[in-house]
Symmetry: C2
Subunit: 365 residues, 2 copies
Amino acid sequence: MLPYLTEKYGNASSLHRWGQAALTALDQARRTIAEILNADPKEIVFTSGGSESDNLALRGVAMALRAKGPQAHIITTPIEHHAILNTAAQLEREFGFEVTRVPVDRRGGVNPDDIARALTPRTVLISVMYANNEVGTVEPLAEIARMAKKRGVLFHTDAVQAGGYLPLDVNELGVDLMSLGAHKFHGPKGVGVLYVRAGTPLLPMQTGGSHERSRRAGTENIPYIVGIATALKIAQDERAATNVRLTALRDKMVEGILERIVGAELTGDPKNRLPGHASFVIPGAIGDEMVLGLDLAGVAASTGSACTAGSAEPSHVLAAMGYPADVARGALRLTLGRGNTDAEVEYAVNAAAEVVGKLRGTSGG
Amino acid sequence: MLPYLTEKYGNASSLHRWGQAALTALDQARRTIAEILNADPKEIVFTSGGSESDNLALRGVAMALRAKGPQAHIITTPIEHHAILNTAAQLEREFGFEVTRVPVDRRGGVNPDDIARALTPRTVLISVMYANNEVGTVEPLAEIARMAKKRGVLFHTDAVQAGGYLPLDVNELGVDLMSLGAHKFHGPKGVGVLYVRAGTPLLPMQTGGSHERSRRAGTENIPYIVGIATALKIAQDERAATNVRLTALRDKMVEGILERIVGAELTGDPKNRLPGHASFVIPGAIGDEMVLGLDLAGVAASTGSACTAGSAEPSHVLAAMGYPADVARGALRLTLGRGNTDAEVEYAVNAAAEVVGKLRGTSGG
C-alpha cells in the first residue's frame, strides 16, 4: 500500500501519468478480487467497508425494485450484523418495505425451509450472512441460493466475517450480491467490496462521478484498494493450510476454556463454524468485565460485536438463539488470526480462567 | 498516519487497549477538526470522502424532512459537483423531491436574490458550493446563509474545493452542514468530513453500528482520520502565508497564459477565486489533448473535473456560465499546491504555450 500513499498518489480519474498509474493499480486490484470470487471484474464494486457494502446491497436492490409493489418484501435473519439489521429496519420504518426475519436454532443456524415459507410474490431480496460474527456459525448458503434462484428472488450474503476463511466462489455459492470487508482478513479498516452479479438491479446510494461504473461515486482510495486485494490474495493462497492450523488451535482453545471454566458453554455450532472462531457464555461473569480483565493480561478479546461494545444491551444474536438476557451477558469471544500460536492459545485460556476466577471471587475458573 | 497502519491498528469500538488507543486518536482528530471549524466535536461526522459528505447532507436532510410535504423542495445551482447534482437529480427522479437550480452569471457567481426568489414554503434545504472546482469562483455564502436562516431553511455548502484555502468557521459562514474532503488539502483520498450543526435533522444513509453518533455506521478508518485532521491543521496553520504566495503565483500563471496563448480566456472570477486556481478556455485546442500534451511535458493538468475526465460531454459548469459547447471543449485547469514554485509556474506556462501551438499547428501559442 505504501507506494500509493507516497509517490503514486494520483487520482485514478485523472488523464495524466499520475492518474493513469493509479488507474492501473485499481484495475489490477479489481482483477485480483474478481478472480478469487470467480466473477467478472465489472461485477466488483469497491466500497468504504463491510457496512457500506451491506447498506448498498440492501438499499440498492430494495430501492431499485420498490416499483414491484407498495410493500416490496425482504427476508433476512435476526442474527445479521447491524449493518443489515438496522438498514432493513430503516427500509421498513422510513420507506414502507416489509421485512421478515426468519428464526434461527440454538446453534445460530438458519433453516432454508423457514426462508422458503417466508417467500411471498412481493419478495425482492433474501439476505443471509455467510458466517456469524459473534458465534461463528456458517449458514447453508448454497441451499438458500438454489431456492432463491428457483423462485426468482435475489440473494445477498454478508460474507464480511467469512472473507479470507471460507470459499468465496460466487457461482458455487449461488449469490447475486456479496459483501466483504478488508480488516477481517488482515487488510486495512475502511475498504470493502460489494460483488454485484451482472444484471442485478441496483439504485446507487452514493451518487456523483461515474466511478465504479456509476454504482458508487467518489475518488477511489487506491492504497486501501490495493490493500484489500493483496490481503485477500494472501488469505486465499494460504487458506487451506491456515484453516487446518486455526481449526486445531481453536478446538484446543475451546477444550481448554470448557475444561478450565466451570459452567462455560460454547455458543454457535461446535463443528460448522469459522476456523479461528471460539465463543462462549460464562455464567457468573459479565462480558465487558472479562474483556477488560483479559486486556490487562494482554489478550484482545470481545463480547459480541465490537460495533456494539460498551452498549448495555445483551447480544441480539444470542437472544435470537434463545439465550436469556442474563446468560447472554456472559458472552466472551476469542478469535484467532494467521499469526496466532499454540503458546498464545494456552496463555489466553489460562488468562481467561484467571480473569473469570477473579470476577467470580473464587481462586480459579 | 503510519503508526495507525502498523502498530496501532485497533478497532476504535473495541474495549481493549488496542481499541482504546485507536479511540483516543479518533477523539483527538475530531477535536482538531472541530476547533478549525469553530464547531463542537459532536458536530463532526467522518465519512469516506467529499462525495459521501455531499450525499449524506442532501439525502440525509431531504429524507429526514420529506414529511414536510409530498414534494419537499431543494434549491441548488447548476455548477455544483456531480456529488450534489446527481444526488439532487436522483432525489427528484426516484423519490419525488422538487429541485430548483438557480442560474449563475458568466463568472460562475450565484446571486443570493435568485435563491431568495426560488424559496417556497416547501423548501427544506439550500445547497451552494463554497468555491467551484472547475473555475475557482467563490460564492457569497454568508449572504445566502443570512437569508436561509431568516426563512428557516437549512443551508449546506460543499466546501470540498475550498477546504484548506478559505476560512472554515461554520458560524461566520452561517452554514448548517458543510462537506470537506481530505485530498484537496494534501490529505489522503478516501476520507472526508460532514459538519452537521447540532439539532439538524438527518436520516443516516449508512446504518449499522452506532459509530459517529449513529449518523454514519462502519468501523472507523483511523489512519485516514488522523490524516485528514493533520492535513487540515497544517493547511490552516500555514493558510495565510500560503494564500499570499499562491495568489501571486496564480496571477503570474494567468498573466503568462493570457499573454502567451492567443485567444485564451480566463474562466471564473478574476479576483474572487481560489488562491491557487487558474482555469481557461483555449480556442482551437481540445481539453483532453492539452492535458495529454502537458502530461508528456511532466505537468499534471485537468480539463474540468477529474471525476468526469475522459467523458465526451463538455463541462456542465461552463455550460451554465453561458459558454457554448465548442468553446467549453477548450477548457484547461491549472491548479497550484503548497509545494509549487515560481520556476514551475514558468515551466507550466511555457509547456502550455508549446502544447497549444502544436495542437493548433502553429509554431507557438
